[in-house]
């Protein structure tokens, strides 16, 4: 029995629309036009205990909506979902006692209270026995290097410091399942690495199941064994990171400087991405045409000054993948 089983989950909501300008505002008072937005259109997947799942997709794709439904915040419009046998929105109180959630863009610690008091409050909210709390708290403080932050009010922390405290806060009741919604957003390189390392250890050493959403492909690369790509409310791909890399990220780039004006190139498996005077930027699929073969063909047919092969930036590839599926943000 998988820990999480999601079947045909859908969520739609209505937004009020009005025309711009004063006239639009006045007519909006008398007559509301509603538009239905389908945030999720039938999402299904299963997750075993101890997995580390990465959720990626453009803004507005439905990543956060999925997490909010799975964690018990939102009720879906249709479909079913069980987490450890419970339906999150029906058994909310029981369910949320066993999950930890971090939203990178929001804070769960009380702004004006010192960090340690926020932690103590969470101990009481989750009714954690004092000795277990002390043990978990000390472990978190050591792992995330929080000892010098504990007495500071939350509002005085830097974003990186605060995010480390937020993650510790989400773990104080020892959840078996952790949702991280863009945990590295806005963090500097050091803090990102610290967060990644911590999440990896939680998953590896304690077997905590983790669902992570992010726009940072390096998070996915460093953490996720399995990736779900979501766009326009549907799942576009659900595979291991390696398979996704081999399939979607296989593309290579070839940069060629010609002796004269850059020629037209028509070779199967090759697309011209950019043309600038004597230079061409080509994308090619190494499964259709290998790099040596492609370079050979071009060098044989044209006078070439310089040539080099690169792997495209992972962000770029994923953006093209979204576009290909019509999932770029509308």
């Amino acid at each position: 029995m998988p820990q999480i089983l999601v079947e045909e989950l859908s969520k739609s909501y209505r937004v009020a629309e009005r025309d711009s300008g004063v006239l639009g505002a006045v007519t909006g008072l008398f007559h509301r036009r509603w538009r239905t937005i389908e945030a999720l259109k039938g999402v299904s997947f299963a997750l075993e205990e101890g997995e580390l799942l990465g959720f990626i997709g453009p803004n507005g794709a439905g990543k956060s909506t999925t997490i909010k439904i799975l964690s018990g915040i939102l009720e879906p419009s249709g479909g079913t979902c069980t987490v450890d046998g419970l339906t999150p929105w029906k058994d909310r109180v029981k369910h949320v006692g066993h999950v930890g959630v971090v939203f990178g863009q929001r804070t769960q610690l009380w702004w004006d209270l010192p960090v340690i008091e926020g932690f103590d409050l969470l101990r009481d909210i989750y009714r954690v026995p004092p000795d277990r709390y002390a043990r978990t708290r000390d472990e978190m403080v050591a792992l995330l290097k929080l000892d010098r932050l504990l007495d500071q009010p939350v509002r005085q922390l830097s974003l990186g410091q605060r995010m480390r405290c937020e993650i510790a806060a989400a773990m104080l009741h020892e959840p078996r399942l952790l949702f991280l919604d863009e945990p590295t957003i806005g963090l500097d390189a050091t803090s990102k690495l610290a967060v990644r390392e911590f999440v990896a250890r939680l998953n590896r050493e304690r077997g905590v199941t983790v669902i992570l959403t992010t726009h940072d492909m390096h998070d996915i690369e460093a953490l996720a064994e399995r990736v779900i790509v979501i766009g326009n409310g549907t799942i576009l791909a659900d595979q291991s990171f390696e398979a996704l890399r081999a399939g979607v990220f296989a593309e290579r780039r070839l940069y060629v400087d010609f002796a004269g004006e850059a020629p037209e190139i028509e070779i199967p498996g090759v697309t011209v991405l950019a043309r600038d005077g004597r230079s061409l930027e080509l994308a090619f699929d190494p499964k259709i045409v290998t790099a040596p073969k492609l370079i050979g063909e071009i060098a044989a047919a044209h006078a070439v000054d310089d040539i080099h092969v690169m792997e495209p930036a992972i962000e770029e590839v994923i953006a093209r993948f979204y576009d290909l599926h019509g999932a770029g943000e509308a």
Partner: protein, 275 residues
């Protein structure tokens, strides 16, 4: 006890948090002194000019009532909890849904902590000023007098606990309105005028016309100001006092039941956008 732990912790945390704001407490206290003094002078002029032998409560009682109302002003439900309004606006309200607690009781405990923490220091300062300093300075006629007797003082203490319960229930109903409308402005603006007139804050309800007295006594806002203070100076005694306490309890339960049911509906169709 374990069941109540989160709520007690929320009350205590909010209480401690509010005690940090000393400047706000002092500023609030200064304003309340100022308004109290103006009202006391107006009532004095009013009682001396009119036929005060027909008045249901005396000038001394009215002045005591005024200081009590000013001292405990922060116990009135002037609007929703600003923390809830901020959480609704920023979407941090999501985190409230992630706690293994009853959402209504969770907000209720915080509202109660928020209000008592603001009221306790201000009421104490007001008593020191109007109840002790004024008589010592020779302004005994304008001072906050002691309660009618020990029995009334006991009933008053009970009634003040019910004020906290009732007021928290009204604040929490306002919180639910804020969550439903996504803004604190409408709900807070609505609450002010209703509260200031019908609680007896603007004018003791006993000074309203006789024909309105029954209606004014049974409406919910009387339990916030008028009922406890009339118990304090002995205008409501015996069965009348118990009727007042009963009304406070009744309205508390009514607002809790209504707020709880409404909150469940609002939360079921909650939408959290962005992120």
């Amino acid at each position: 006890m374990d069941a109540a732990r989160p709520y007690l912790a929320a009350f205590a945390a909010r209480f401690q948090q509010m005690l940090q704001y000393r400047a706000a407490a002092l500023a609030g206290f200064a304003t309340q002194c100022w308004w109290g003094a103006i009202k006391v002078m107006i009532y004095t002029a009013f009682f001396h000019a009119g036929r005060h032998d027909a008045s249901p409560i005396s000038l001394g009682q009215t002045i005591t009532y005024t200081w009590l109302a000013q001292g405990f002003l922060a116990l009135n439900p002037w609007g929703g909890d600003p923390d809830v309004a901020a959480a609704v606006r920023t979407g941090a309200v999501s985190y409230d849904r992630l706690r293994p607690v009853d959402g209504y009781a969770w907000w209720y405990a915080r509202a109660a902590g928020w209000m008592t923490a603001r009221a306790v220091p201000r009421a104490a300062l007001m008593f020191l000023t109007a109840g002790i300093a004024l008589p010592l300075l020779g302004f005994g006629a304008w001072s906050w007098r002691p309660p009618a007797d020990l029995a009334q003082a006991g009933l008053f203490a009970l009634s003040m606990l019910l004020v906290v319960a009732l007021s928290s229930a009204i604040v929490n109903l306002t919180n639910v309105i804020i969550a439903a409308t996504l803004t604190d402005r409408g709900a807070n603006i609505l609450m002010g005028p209703l509260l200031i007139v019908f609680s007896g804050n603007l004018l003791p309800l006993r000074l309203f016309p006789d024909w309105a007295q029954t209606a004014l006594f049974v409406q919910p806002f009387a339990g916030l100001v008028d009922i406890p203070f009339r118990i304090y100076f002995g205008d409501l005694t015996g069965a009348g006092a118990w009727a007042g306490l009963g009304l406070q309890a009744f309205w508390t339960l009514a607002f809790v039941a209504g707020g709880h049911a409404w909150m469940s509906r609002v939360m079921a169709r909650l939408q959290v956008q962005g992120g």
